[in-house]
Structure formats: structure tokens, C-alpha cells
């Protein structure tokens, strides 16, 4: 048995003697000085130890028990209850977890200690530690809580930016409806005078394809004066940028970028810093300028209008045959054509649009929401979950050894091949989606093209703060997407990223903040100040985060591993109270009779 607030039990020390004294005072009889005690009738002497004394002792006992019970109730008694069958502990496993703590360990160590404590309190039958790195990963299979923590402790702290929303979704799936999820948030660390590069993001301008906007999220802790940022890409250094930051707070600076893109960009903060590890960050920029998109197939004016309206697209229309050379083509769109002759490896990403009601891809009748298999780490890059295309058609069954990783309703939408490639089938039927579908059409393509147009060796990675991603070293294995009518695209996968060097590339991150969707709120050259206040100690409330995170929030509470004794204790106190009142009534009886 334990107590939520055991310190309150100290109240018993003064209260029990006080109750005893009050009881003694209350039971004191009026004193009568007898002139002739030897003349007292023997019957007037009340024998000691009679029923009255017994009742009195019982009343004292009940009062002491009542007092002790009330104090115990205040202290919140609990007894170990049956823990959940399964419990998933989500531990941030980003680069920030390498941050050393004053006690000599890292934030990762502290988080695991917290998990150990949570498991001991929750007493789950089976446990699993889910590491929230850039992609969620389980430290072990379902095992005992101690073994789960030990397995996680054998792993080094993480790298990159933790995908906490994804980890929570994964944890929710793993735990199942009956399982519980706990989040071990390692302690935050405030470093006065510290300047941090929290996040980098980049987005090409829609109006000017040759211009990009670099978003730099900065955090300062008791820092006076402006910060000077230095930007460097492989071709050389860019002019430094001065940013006026609040003394303590967070700021999102938007910086115009004019350059070729398509390579890594280093951003650093100049000047002294007591904690310099988070003063550098890298981001791989997408190539800027217009991308060549080849459209092959029968004339589809709506599709051609949608693609041609995209500012970053230079649309070329090819006849179905014979296949042309795709050199320099950023994206191939096959509309109602057999993709076999066009698919070459390596080659550009391909979008296949199946002919309506023809071929192996049957059109779905209504728009459906995609659900992504959370165990598929690579698909997380696509951020496809929740995407609502106008219409989807199911994918043929995956080949032998293949695995479905995205479901469109009840039908498979994406499967991965046994050869390490992932094929994404997006069956798009723009003509069937009505007005809403038509409106979504261009937007859908615009959103889809952003990842599709990346070069095979590139990556549109945002918020990978601290990661060094040298150009040209990405694995060519990728995610292939097929849309209605067979669209195939190849995207880079995260697991191919080389690990950053130990001595550089770190960042001070706040994991909970990452529940917010990354990205720039808008294009602005002016800094966006953050209201004053403790920026580090007050993480944003999960409820204000993304809908997925909000949905996960209720599951983050500590499960009732201990059963509260408040109700039985209240019943016991009530019985004691009734007993005391009954004894009081019995004691008052003879006086009334007298």
C-alpha cells in the first residue's frame, strides 16, 4: 500500500494526541467534593471497568481510527492494482537526447530512468520502449518492463529530429485499444546565454521558382543583442544575415535564398556561446527553378491544365509511343498508358494514371482517407497519412514477398516490393470527384510534385537540425508512388542517411514542440517575434498540437497502475462515524434517564 502524499501522514503525530486529549476532556465527569464519603451508599459507587468505561474506550478507539482514516484519506491511499496488459513507453530519441545533464548522464539516460519509474508504478505485464527518433523504432519486442528498459539502455542516444507525433501514432497502434502509452519526456535544460538553431525549413517560392525561403527558428536564453547567421553551401559562403532576436524567447526568421539549390546548406550562429553544439544546422535544399514534367497519354485537358498551371512545372506532352529519352525530365506522367516501356531504372519519378474503369485498377467510388502502416519507417517521409485525394482506386495485390504499407480504406494503396522498393499507388480519378475534387486537383498535384520532383540523390528534408547530409551520398533506393493509371515516383528514404559525425551537428530541441507540424507559416522577410516568457520550461500544450497528437494526448496519462482506496476508506469512515454516534447515544441514555 502506498500514498500519493505520504508527507501528510505526519499530521497523525499532532492529531492523535490532540484527539486523545480532547476525548479525555470530553469524558471528564463533574467533580463533587464529598463531606462524608464514608456515608455514601455502596450502590452509588460506579464500579470501574463497567459497560460505561468499555463504551468510553470504544469511543476513543473509534475517534482515533476516524482521525487516522481521515488523514490517510488525505494522503491518498493506494494499493497496487493490476497493471495494463501492454504498455508502450515513448522515449524521445532525437539528437537533443545526447545533451549532457549536470549529473553526468544524458537526457536519454534521464528519460530511461523516468520510464523505469513509470513502469514500476504502472506495473504492466508486457512493456515496450518505443524510441521516437526521426522514425519511431522499438528498442525490443514485447517483454518485461525491466528487459524493455534494459534493451533501450543498451542503445546510444538518438540522432536527428524526433518524430514524436509519428511515434505516438505508432505507440497507439502497438499498444492497441487496451494498452497504455506513457511518454517519458527527459528533463529540459536551460543554458543562460545559449543561442540555439532549433529548426531549419525551406520552401520554394510559388511565384518565383528560382527563389526559395529559408526558415530559421532561433531560440535565445538571456541573450542580448542581435544574432548574426552565416550561411554556407558547397559553392561558397553566402552573405551573413543579422537577426534581431528577443533576449529570451523564440523567433522564426525567414530568409530569401537565391541560388541553385539541390545541395546542402549550412547555417551557423556567429559568436561565443556557452553551449555551441546547437549553433549549427544543415539542410538539403531542393533544386530551384522549373522542373521538366513529361505527360504521356491521351489528351486530358483538365490534367494538362492542372500541371501546366503549376509555377514550378515546365510541361512537355509526349505521344504514347515510341518511348522517348527521359534525360533531364524531372517527372513523367503516364495517363492511361502501359507504364512498362517507360519505366527505366534509374529514371525520373513516374505518375501513372489508369484509364477510368479499365485495367487492373478499379476506381473507388468515393474519396477515402489513406492510412499508413506505422511500422513502415520510410513511408513517414511522404507524410501521406490523412491525405485525402479526390478518388482512390485499390492497388493490385503486392508481389510475393511484398508488403502493404498504405491502405486506402479497405484496399491496399501502397506496397513495398521484396527488392527494397516501395510502390505507391494513388489512383486518381479527377473527373469523378465533383467540384470539390476538381478544386483539390491542382492542390493535390502541387503537394505531390514537391517530393516527386526531387532528384534521385536529393531529399527535401525539413527540420533535420544538426544532421550533416553530404550531397550525392544518398542511397538510390526509394519510395515509388503510383497513382491512378500507374504513377511511379521514387523518393529518398531516411534510413540511407549517413550518421552525423560525433563531434559536430547537434541541437537543443524540445521534443514536445515537435508535435507541431513543421513548416513555415508564411513567407516573410521580417522576423516573427515570440512573446516573452520562459520558452524552455513551458512547452506547448499537446492539445494545441496537431490533431493526431491531440488524439494521442489522452493516452499519455499515466495509467491507473494503483487502485485508489478512497472509496473503501470513505465507506469505512462512514461506518466508524455511525458506530461512534451509536456509542454516543448509548452513553447519553443513562443521563437522560437520570
Amino acid at each position: 500500500m502506498g500514498f500519493d502524499h505520504p508527507a501528510l501522514l505526519l499530521l497523525l503525530l499532532p492529531l492523535l494526541p490532540a484527539v486523545w486529549l480532547l476525548h479525555r476532556r470530553g469524558r471528564e465527569l463533574p467533580r463533587v467534593r464529598l463531606h462524608a464519603p464514608f456515608l455514601l451508599p455502596p450502590a452509588a459507587r460506579r464500579p470501574r471497568g463497567g459497560p460505561r468505561d468499555l463504551r468510553d474506550r470504544l469511543r476513543l478507539l473509534l475517534r482515533l481510527l476516524l482521525t487516522a482514516g481521515l488523514v490517510a484519506a488525505l494522503a491518498g491511499p493506494e494499493v497496487p492494482g493490476p497493471g495494463p496488459d501492454r504498455m508502450v513507453a515513448v522515449v524521445p530519441h532525437g539528437l537533443a537526447t545526447r545533451l549532457p545533464l549536470p549529473d553526468g548522464g544524458t537526457r536519454y539516460d534521464a528519460a530511461l530512468r523516468e520510464v523505469d519509474r513509470l513502469f514500476a508504478r504502472a506495473r504492466p505485464r508486457r512493456a515496450l520502449v518505443l524510441l521516437a527518433g526521426p522514425e519511431p523504432a522499438a528498442a525490443s519486442g514485447w517483454t518485461s518492463p525491466a528487459a524493455a528498459v534494459a534493451a533501450a539502455a543498451r542503445l546510444p542516444p538518438g540522432l536527428g529530429l524526433p518524430d514524436l507525433p509519428g511515434a505516438l501514432r505508432e505507440a497507439r497502434r502497438l499498444a492497441g485499444p487496451e494498452g497504455a502509452i506513457v511518454l517519458a519526456d527527459p528533463p529540459l535544460l536551460r543554458v543562460p546565454g545559449n543561442r540555439s538553431l532549433v529548426e531549419l525549413s525551406f520552401r520554394a517560392s510559388q511565384a518565383e521558382p528560382e527563389v526559395g525561403v529559408l526558415g530559421v527558428r532561433l531560440r535565445t536564453d538571456q541573450v542580448d543583442g542581435p544574432l548574426e547567421l552565416e550561411l554556407q553551401e558547397e559553392s561558397g559562403k553566402l552573405p551573413p544575415i543579422q537577426v534581431q532576436t528577443p533576449r529570451t524567447g523564440e523567433l522564426l526568421a525567414a530568409v530569401s535564398y537565391r541560388g541553385p539549390g539541390g545541395g546542402p546548406l549550412r547555417v551557423g550562429i556567429r559568436g561565443d556561446d556557452p553551449f555551441p553544439l546547437d549553433d549549427e544546422a544543415w539542410i538539403r535544399l531542393p533544386p530551384l527553378g522549373r522542373a521538366r514534367v513529361a505527360l504521356v497519354g491521351e489528351d486530358d485537358p483538365e490534367l494538362r491544365r492542372a500541371l501546366g498551371a503549376l509555377p514550378r512545372v515546365s510541361l512537355e506532352v509526349f505521344p504514347p509511343s515510341p518511348p522517348r529519352s527521359l534525360e533531364g525530365v524531372g517527372l513523367l506522367v503516364l495517363a492511361g498508358q502501359d507504364p512498362t516501356p517507360w519505366l527505366t531504372v534509374p529514371g525520373p519519378p513516374v505518375v501513372l494514371i489508369a484509364p477510368p474503369a479499365a485495367g487492373p485498377l478499379a476506381l473507388a467510388a468515393a474519396p477515402v482517407r489513406l492510412t499508413v502502416d506505422p511500422t513502415e519507417r520510410r513511408i513517414g517521409l511522404l507524410a501521406l497519412e490523412g491525405l485525402l485525394p479526390p478518388t482512390l482506386s485499390p492497388l493490385p495485390p503486392p508481389p510475393a514477398g511484398g508488403k502493404v504499407i498504405v491502405w486506402a480504406g479497405e484496399q491496399p494503396a501502397v506496397w513495398s516490393s521484396p527488392h527494397g522498393r516501395v510502390r505507391l499507388a494513388l489512383a486518381v480519378a479527377p473527373g469523378r470527384a465533383g467540384l470539390a475534387g476538381s478544386a483539390l486537383h491542382a492542390v493535390f498535384w502541387d503537394d505531390l510534385l514537391e517530393p516527386l520532383l526531387l532528384p534521385p540523390d536529393g531529399g527535401c528534408r525539413t527540420a533535420l537540425v544538426g544532421e550533416r547530409t553530404p550531397a550525392g551520398r544518398l542511397d538510390r533506393a526509394g519510395v515509388y508512388a503510383t497513382a491512378a493509371g500507374c504513377l511511379v515516383a521514387r523518393l529518398p528514404v531516411a534510413e540511407s542517411l549517413p550518421p552525423p559525425p560525433e563531434e559536430e551537428g547537434s541541437a537543443l530541441l524540445e521534443e514536445l514542440e515537435l508535435l507541431e507540424e513543421p513548416g513555415l507559416p508564411g513567407v516573410s522577410e521580417a522576423p516573427v517575434p515570440v512573446p516573452d516568457g520562459p520558452p524552455v520550461d513551458t512547452p506547448p500544450a499537446p492539445a494545441a498540437a496537431s490533431p493526431d497528437a491531440a488524439a494521442s494526448a489522452p493516452a499519455l496519462g499515466l495509467p491507473a497502475a494503483r487502485r485508489s482506496l478512497a472509496s473503501p476508506l470513505a465507506l469505512l469512515l462512514l461506518l466508524l462515524l455511525l458506530g461512534e454516534a451509536w456509542l454516543a447515544g448509548r452513553a447519553a441514555g443513562p443521563r437522560r434517564a437520570a
Binding site: 467533580r31 463533587v32 464529598l34 463531606h35 462524608a36 456515608l39 455514601l40 460506579r46 437520570a594
Partner: protein, 295 residues
């Protein structure tokens, strides 16, 4: 210092003025004291005419003053006051029960204490040897015979140190009072509430053996025979023990009857030994009590 204050409390000037007019000597018919037939000779020492007293059956008719009878028609006999030394012994009950009294009023001891001082004062200033004894069970305080006005202060200091404590033992005090056999005659004053757990048999057995005049002064407290009904804790002031009580009206009446029975027994035994019994409430005024006793 405290003793001086106590002595002042015992006798105030008004009371002293009254006491100066009183006599503690036993007044009795001369034939009872000397055994002579007829009035004493005029030159007889130690005997002086005091007053005419009414004739009582049993008195020799030869002592009737016929001249008075001739003038007034009533039978009167002459009473003489002896001027011989009459030792006075004052026994003061010091038991704790004497410390009780009326509710928020004077205690029995307060009256008995001052009364003892008054009797002793009268005895001393009238040149009678005065012996003071304070008694309780296993406690005996004795001031041997003192004589004359100069012994007043010593007497008052002796009385001033008394406080009621201990259990009642009438036999203890009376036995001490009767120890002095060197002097004959005189008076013995016993100031007590006569609530002795040992009873009155032994004490009155001793008193019955003396030929001195015995004055029993019973000090009672108003309502001492009452016992509150219900649950209470009865304290015995003499032993300090507390007894839990559960008193019904019937038991309270029984107790009152027992207390009254104790008083009746006291009167009966006093009559048996021909002692003079006077009962005063502790709220009584001391001058009235003194006047009634010695006047």
C-alpha cells in the same frame, strides 16, 4: 509575615472588644463545685457571685434564695463564678473535610479556626490556662498551657500555621486533650464537623471518662448532606481519592438520610455523656457564635 497576617485575620479589633467582655470560666452553682451546703463564705477565694439562676429540679432547696422568692415569687438560686484556675483545652479538628464549606462561601475550618482563637483569647485574658490542640489522623499539634494576655500572640502564631489536611480522627484529638491530668476541672472545647469515618464510639467513650465540662461545637456546611444526581466523580477531600458515582434520586436521599443520622447520633451521644452540643453553620457570624458559646 504570613503568620502575622493570619493572626490578624483570626481576631479583629471588633471581635476583641466583644471577647473582652466574655468569660470562659465555667459558671455553675457553687454547691455543685465545692460540695458545701449553702452559699460560700464571703471570703471564699476563687468564687464570686455571678447571677441568679432559675431553680432546676434536683437542686437542694436550701440554696433557694428565699428573699428573692419573697420579693418576686419565683424560685431563684444563686450562681457563683469561680475565680479559681479553670484549664481550658481547645481541640481543633484539622482534617481536610473541615476545608469544605458552603459553595463559594466560608469553609468549616475558617469558622472553627477563628472560634478556637476567640475561645483561647478569652481564656488567656481571664487568666485561665489555655491549651490548644490541633488534630487529625496521625497529626497532633499541641500548644501546652499558656496563661495570661502575653501569651495571646504565641497562641495566634500557633493557630496561624494550621491548614486543614488529613483524615478525621476525633479519638486522636480527644485522647490528647484528656492526657493532662495535672489539672482538674475546666472546659474542653471540641471544634469539629464530627464526620469521622471511624465513628463516634471511641471518641465519646473517652469523653465520657472526664469530669470536665465538654463543649462540642459542631460546624456544618449548608447542603453537605446533598449529593448531585447523575454521573459524577466524588472526591474524598481527606484521602484525595476520587470515586466514580452514579447517583439516582433514591441514592441521594439515602445519603442525606445517613448524614442526618450521623448528626442525630452525635446529639444522642453528647446527651449520654452530658456534654454540651452546639451546632453552627459555617456561614454563621463569629460574634454570634462566640456570644452563644461564652456569653
Amino acid at each position: 509575615m504570613e503568620s502575622n497576617e493570619r493572626t490578624t485575620d483570626l481576631l479583629d479589633p471588633e471581635l476583641i472588644t466583644l471577647l473582652e467582655r466574655l468569660s470562659v470560666a465555667e459558671r455553675e452553682l457553687v454547691q455543685d463545685r465545692s460540695g458545701h451546703a449553702g452559699p460560700p463564705a464571703a471570703d471564699s477565694l476563687g468564687v464570686d457571685f455571678y447571677e441568679y439562676a432559675s431553680y432546676q429540679p434536683g437542686i437542694d432547696v436550701r440554696h433557694v434564695d428565699w428573699a428573692v422568692y419573697g420579693r418576686t415569687g419565683s424560685l431563684r438560686v444563686r450562681s457563683y463564678e469561680s475565680h479559681q484556675e479553670q484549664p481550658i483545652c481547645v481541640l481543633l479538628d484539622l482534617s481536610a473535610s473541615m476545608g469544605l464549606g458552603a459553595a463559594e462561601g466560608p469553609t468549616k475550618f475558617a469558622l472553627a479556626h477563628r472560634l478556637a482563637a476567640a475561645i483561647a483569647y478569652v481564656g488567656l485574658v481571664t487568666y485561665h490556662p489555655v491549651r490548644l490542640i490541633g488534630f487529625a489522623k496521625e497529626r497532633l499539634e499541641v500548644l501546652p498551657h499558656r496563661l495570661g494576655r502575653e501569651a495571646v500572640h504565641e497562641m495566634l502564631r500557633f493557630l496561624g500555621r494550621f491548614q486543614p489536611a488529613g483524615e478525621t480522627s476525633l479519638a486522636t484529638g480527644i485522647a490528647a486533650g484528656l492526657e493532662d491530668v495535672s489539672r482538674k476541672g475546666g472546659r474542653i472545647f471540641v471544634l469539629s464537623d464530627f464526620l469521622d469515618p471511624a465513628g463516634l464510639v471511641e471518641a465519646f467513650g473517652l469523653l465520657g471518662t472526664t469530669r470536665r465540662r465538654v463543649d462540642l461545637v459542631a460546624i456544618v456546611a449548608p447542603g453537605e448532606e446533598e449529593l448531585p444526581t447523575g454521573a459524577s466523580l466524588g472526591e474524598d477531600p481527606e484521602t484525595g481519592q476520587a470515586v466514580p458515582l452514579q447517583v439516582t434520586p433514591e441514592l441521594a436521599a439515602d445519603y442525606a438520610g445517613r448524614v442526618r443520622g450521623q448528626r442525630q447520633e452525635l446529639a444522642r451521644r453528647a446527651h449520654e455523656i452530658r456534654a454540651h452540643l452546639a451546632t453552627f453553620p459555617c456561614t454563621a457570624e463569629l460574634p454570634d457564635v462566640v456570644t452563644e458559646l461564652l456569653g
